[in-house]
Point group: C2
Chain length 210, copies 2
């Protein structure tokens, strides 16, 4: 019997949307449990490290979004065939997380000159470096980020780049942080147009917190 999946997160895309994309890609049913933010202080202490998302698989609680994405990637045939191939995928995933971390440090900084300085650095150094590398890898891999074929990290990247754009693009006076990266734009479009993912995007609930 297929496992029963329950995904718990806030009523936004954030770090759960990649998981929702992967479930949709695989045509796997899951309970999309979007909590009322008012209930979070109570729920928080019941989670493994005080964070969401969590994914319950027949009641067993999985946590850490990238670990969950990798788990689904393996189940869905979107992982590598060897440890070496998986290392290539994983390195891209961890580099996306590094970029996310840099956004977070800036985002959480109090308004002031330090925050402006972090933003300048993001704009002039960090984003060109990271997005430039992703663009380079996608160009070298036939439009995908690793292994020359679709893997779970492409689906993660397509969704995370959308989240980055929703949260941050306007702060950088652009519609999309990917504007100067045509291969990444094409990768995102490729993922968004996978029929099962397109169907999810067409029906997904609107974010309530943004």
């Amino acid at each position: 019997m297929a496992p029963k999946y329950k995904l718990t997160y806030f009523p936004i895309a954030g770090l759960a949307e990649q998981i929702r994309f992967l479930f949709s890609y695989g045509g796997i049913e899951f309970e999309d449990n979007r909590i009322d933010p008012a209930s979070w202080p109570t729920l928080k202490s019941t989670t493994p490290v005080g964070q969401l998302p969590i994914l319950e698989v027949d009641g067993k609680v999985l946590f850490q979004s990238i670990a969950i994405n990798r788990y689904l990637g393996h189940i869905l045939g979107l992982a590598g065939k060897t440890p070496l191939e998986n290392c290539e995928i994983d390195a891209v995933a961890d580099t996306i997380t590094d970029l996310r971390f840099k956004f977070t440090v800036w985002h959480q900084q109090e308004e002031g000159p330090k925050k402006e300085e972090l933003k300048e650095k993001l704009s002039n150094e960090v984003l060109p470096l990271y997005l430039g590398k992703f663009e380079q890898w996608a160009t070298a891999n036939g439009g995908y980020l690793a292994l020359g074929r679709l893997t779970w990290v492409d689906i993660v990247a397509a969704s995370i780049f959308e989240v980055f754009d929703k949260m941050f693009a306007s702060k950088f006076q652009t519609q999309s942080l990917l504007n100067e990266y045509p291969t990444l734009q094409k990768l995102q479009s490729t993922v968004f147009n996978i029929p099962n993912i397109k169907a999810w995007i067409d029906k997904r609930p609107a974010d309530k917190l943004q």
Copy 2:
């Protein structure tokens, strides 16, 4: 024929020591290439994302330390047997990385009241939360962090906790951040006393940068 491994990092423990531990555990020969920090500005642009460590496997360049640790874990029989088991290991590894990020934010902050505030938060909230969780998981898993047996994340944790202690413990007026966490101390001791790892610890070069 066994692959040829070349690990490149600064002449310190840092984020390479976990890889050195795993090679040692497996009795796998590797070139331990410790660069002169003066050569880093030149070398930096030749690395995948301007970071070390990198691991060359028959010339193929792997990067991102946790991805490399996971790769070696799979090769050495220290991974899970199913995607679900691996997700449990990976979630612990990513939680260790989260803690490392929090140390980094504090460590990179300029001296001043904000840095003091971050240190207070680390001391009173972050460390008790994370180390408390690790202690709890180790207690629930027969002394290991996941799956009730030794996996690669135990070796990573034992080494990273040593690095945290070298870098940060004195700032928190303690000899070891694990002082109040007996199960984690025991886990670290268990890993350090695995004969192949003990042999590495006994012969490893002294850090040059600390």
